[in-house]
Amino acid sequence: MLIPPETQQCPARRRWLVGALAAGALHTAARAQFRVEISGVGATQLPVGVAKFREEDKSGQSISGIVRADLERSGVFRIVDSSGDFDETSRPNYTEWRGRGADALVAGSAARLADGRFDVRYKLWDVVKGSDLGGQALAVLAADLRLAAHRIADAVYEKLTGDKGVFSTRIAYVTRVANRYTLRITDADGEGGQVALNSTQPIISPAWSPDGRSLAYVSFESGKAVVWAQDVATGDRRAIANFRGSNSAPAWSPDGGTLAVTLSRDGISQIYLMDPSGGNLRRITQSSAIDTEPTFTPDGKTIYFVSDRGGSPQIYRVPTAGGNPERVTFSGGYNISPALSPDGRTMAYINRNGNEFKVMTLDLNGGALRSVSDTVDDESPSFAPNGKLIIYATRSQGRDVLMTTTLDGRIRTRLLASGVDVREPIWGPFGR
């Protein structure tokens, strides 16, 4: 999430406080379905004021509170006191705001429209430079007020850091309580959770379609592993791979036109491509070993996967059009679960060392290898769509929990849900 200060282009970032808080500081930001704990902060944090939105009390959502929590949880911002009456039409007294220690200020309103919707407006100012950085008006249904607040946080984040925000994206994951398995979808802040599927049998490997409308996943509800695809909004679902043996590890191509799956129909787990409707099946790996966990590169031309053809599980890649697989990981005897960053430059994966399973990142151009977690039971890494965060599953205090980390491992958040095991996270795309 952090860019080194010398690469900043935005003037508002000149006065970022250096080392404002000691790394390792722990505090709680948001509660509800998840408790989010942040540990560590960036070397620099931008102080920003977010005034209470005019009429937000009547809307039923604390819009400014959601914006503040989003910005603070990113680790890149520090929230400063912003009491007082302001909205997007105000002319802030820059000297006064500089006195409060703010570099930037957000204010807005949420007026109820005649048709019942809300007209959510905001404006962002660079207090240091004394300039107006623009704003936006969003007319939304009451049910989308949270989304509107996340969109404002995204816009502020992008204006001030130069990177797209992921606050308005969604995350899918699986919870387990005794023998109840639930596939859930939540806002990226862990709130507003909704259930996509309930089952008494395990659910694993959810995968978002690139348009964010469908989830493919593996359900054991019929007594074995079958790949399903489900329309998130309507709940319509169908079994798209239900062959003899096990069917698993669905991955969407970037254009949404193809699914890669692992099937054991020909006697051993191999990787196949198919249409999302279930037709046009063709096998793309030909080995006498385990081949599984396919994932497409962002350009769709290559598939990364796991194979034990060399005697231990390692990550390989093969052209989607067919060709000879090439080994990618060489360090360690157990490397699985590849995930590629949206720019295709970084691969996150799980490395086993003794009894420790840890998220690693590998620079696919330069070859630099980095451990980014401080836990030892890590699974299922996936990138946020802006490429700045990785979400993964791990164990903490006897529970399955979810963590997010920046790519440099400096800022981590732990998503805690009390009394529930949480696993199999997958970050959804932009564009909800």
């Binding site: 054991f220 096990s246 698993s248 051993i268 966990e293 699985i336 696993r423």
Partner: protein, 181 residues
């Protein structure tokens, strides 16, 4: 009055359900069914079961699925080493026994479920469990069973036989289970 009637009905339905609810599941560890003859009908029959056993209740026991050749002594579980799908010699008699059963009775079908311990990724473990199940299935076919009689599937690490986070638990979870269909 209405209230009373509703709850009386509910009580009767409950009693009826309880009386019919005892099904007998058949597998190797089949519960021992007490074979003592019970007095046929009569006023005294209700004394032991009390109100929960309807006097006309009949519990069906299906003996047609009991296979005299397979039942009992072969065992149903094959264990594996860590990250391995090599069949150990000690399980040869078990595999040979089921191969004989299957080749003698071509209408018999079995499912082989592969499992792993909790360590590592869910998908790799699913594939590893599949490999274990396939290893058992392949041996059965080599020894005379036909391919169409068996399906190898995997639950990976999703269904441990034993809870626990040590080698003793892990060793019991790295397994393939042979089940009748």
């Amino acid at each position: 009055m209405n209230h009373f009637r509703t709850s009386l009905c509910a009580a009767l339905i409950c009693a009826g359900l309880a009386g019919c609810g005892s099904s007998v599941k058949l597998d190797d560890a089949a519960p021992v069914v007490d074979a003592k003859p019970t007095p046929a009908g009569g006023a005294g029959a209700g004394a032991k079961g009390g109100a929960s056993t309807a006097q006309s209740a009949v519990t069906t026991v299906d003996a047609s699925k009991i296979d005299p050749t397979a039942a009992g002594n072969l065992g149903r579980v094959v264990y594996f080493d860590f990250d391995s799908y090599v069949l150990k010699d000690e399980f040869r008699p078990l595999i040979e026994g089921y191969a004989r059963v299957l080749s003698a009775s071509k209408s018999k079908k079995m499912v082989i479920e592969g499992h792993t311990d909790e360590r590592g990724g869910r998908e790799y473990n699913l594939a590893l469990g599949q490999r274990r199940a396939e290893a058992v299935a392949k041996s059965l076919v080599l020894l005379g069973a036909s391919d169409s009689q068996i399906e190898a599937v995997s639950f990976g690490k999703e269904r441990p036989a034993v809870d626990g986070h040590d080698e003793a638990a892990w060793a019991k979870n790295r397994r393939a289970e042979l089940k009748d269909r």
